[in-house]
């Protein structure tokens, strides 16, 4: 209502001003008309103006009254709404508080329940882990014992096998070395024999070549030729 009144007042004001301006222009326009007519018109104009002013004052007062009425009504409504809002807000706050407290209670219960569950889970876990550890330890120990047994067996087998192999290879090596020595010995003997023969030949060639007389040499030649003849070498 506070917003409606000023525009109405302004509209009246403008209308009045326009009418006034129109009237004045009409007067100026019809200045040349008769004074009577002018007077009449002036009287009419005054009447109209008086009526318009009166009407506008009535309207103005009415509108003022209305506006005041409206303002008071609106003030009353605003207060009422505020109170309603306050009451509603308080109710909402109360509801929220109760809901929150309920939620807190539920949350607390849930947390405590979760903590209990978790603690029992942890206990179970701990128990399980201990059991598992024991089981694992036992299994590991058994496995280690088994592995140690296997290792011992394999090691003894390996040692036995390597001993056999080593003995075999040593025997083979010994045999090979003996063969090598024997072969070397034979070669050396052969070499010595050859050297002895070569030495003897060389000695004989050196000594007999000088010591043998021409007759002896010729005898040896004819002896050789006799042999060739016997063999029919030249046929």
């Amino acid at each position: 209502m506070d917003f409606i009144l000023p525009p109405i007042l302004a509209a009246f004001g403008v209308t009045f001003t326009l009418l006034f301006i129109r009237e004045r222009k009409l007067r100026q326009k019809v200045a040349g008309q008769s004074s009577k007519e002018i007077e009449e018109n002036r009287q009419k104009g005054y009447q109209f103006l008086h009526q318009a002013i009166k009407k506008s004052q009535e309207i103005l007062s009415l509108s003022e009254t209305e506006s005041i009425k409206l303002i008071s009504e609106s003030k009353a409504n605003v207060g009422k709404i505020e109170e309603e809002h306050k009451a509603q807000l308080a109710q909402y706050v109360k509801q929220y508080e109760s809901m929150l407290s309920q939620t807190f209670t539920q949350a607390n219960q849930a947390i405590s329940s979760s903590i209990q569950t978790f603690s029992s889970f942890v206990k179970d876990l701990e128990k399980n882990s201990v059991e598992l550890e024991e089981t694992n330890q036992q299994a590991a120990q058994q496995r280690i014992e088994k592995m140690l047994d296997q290792l011992e067996t394999r090691l003894s087998d390996f040692l036995l096998e390597s001993e056999q192999k080593t003995t075999g290879s040593i025997e083979l090596e010994l045999q090979s070395v003996r063969q090598l020595i024997e072969s070397y010995k034979q070669q050396q003997f052969k070499l010595i024999d050859e050297n002895i023969v070569a030495m003897m030949e060389r000695t004989m060639a050196l000594v007999l070549g000088k010591r043998l007389s021409l007759k002896d040499q010729l005898d040896l030649i004819y002896e050789s030729l006799e042999k060739a003849k016997m063999e029919k070498f030249v046929a």
Binding site: I196, L218, L225, A228, E231, F233
Partner: protein
């Protein structure tokens, strides 16, 4: 020509000697036929020249200026055809022993015109080795030692023990 060749080769036993004698004969006959200088050289006669004289006047008379070269060429050709018995000896034989040896071989091996090619190999110690038609056979003392090597060594080893 055969008669001349027989006469030359009868008392020539080595291939080396044959070639040498033919060379001297050629020289002698050439000078005899174509120059008068033979008499001057008679004083310098060697054993080979003496051999030429031993051939006799009838032998030399068969050569004249027309046939001298053809006959000598034929003889040299015949020489190159000879296949000698190579004999390896441990020492050098005197010439007279070579003749005896050659004669002995011809008689005993049944080869009338067999020529010897004498080579020396002191490593043979004694005796000889022969090569005939590409086949070598060792009859030397060295070969005997080689053949009896084992026995020789055994006897040596008895002294070593």
């Amino acid at each position: 020509m055969n008669q001349l060749w027989d006469q030359i080769i009868t008392n020539t036993y080595t291939l080396k000697s044959l070639k040498n004698r033919l060379r001297i004969l050629r020289d002698y006959l050439t000078k005899q036929q174509f120059t008068n200088g033979v008499q001057d050289q008679d004083e310098k006669l060697t054993d080979e020249a003496q051999w030429i004289n031993s051939l006799g006047k009838d032998f030399l008379a068969k050569f004249n200026q027309h046939n001298i070269y053809s006959l000598l060429d034929e003889m040299e050709s015949e020489t190159s055809k000879q296949e000698p018995l190579t004999i390896f000896l441990a020492f050098e034989l005197p010439n007279e022993e070579i003749s005896k040896l050659g004669s002995w071989i011809r008689v005993n091996f049944g080869q009338k015109y067999l020529m010897l090619d004498i080579k020396y190999d002191p490593s043979l110690i004694g005796g000889c080795a022969l090569t005939w038609k590409g086949i070598y056979h060792d009859y030397s003392v060295k070969k005997k030692i080689e053949d009896n090597k084992q026995q020789v060594l055994e006897s040596f080893k008895t002294y070593l023990r």
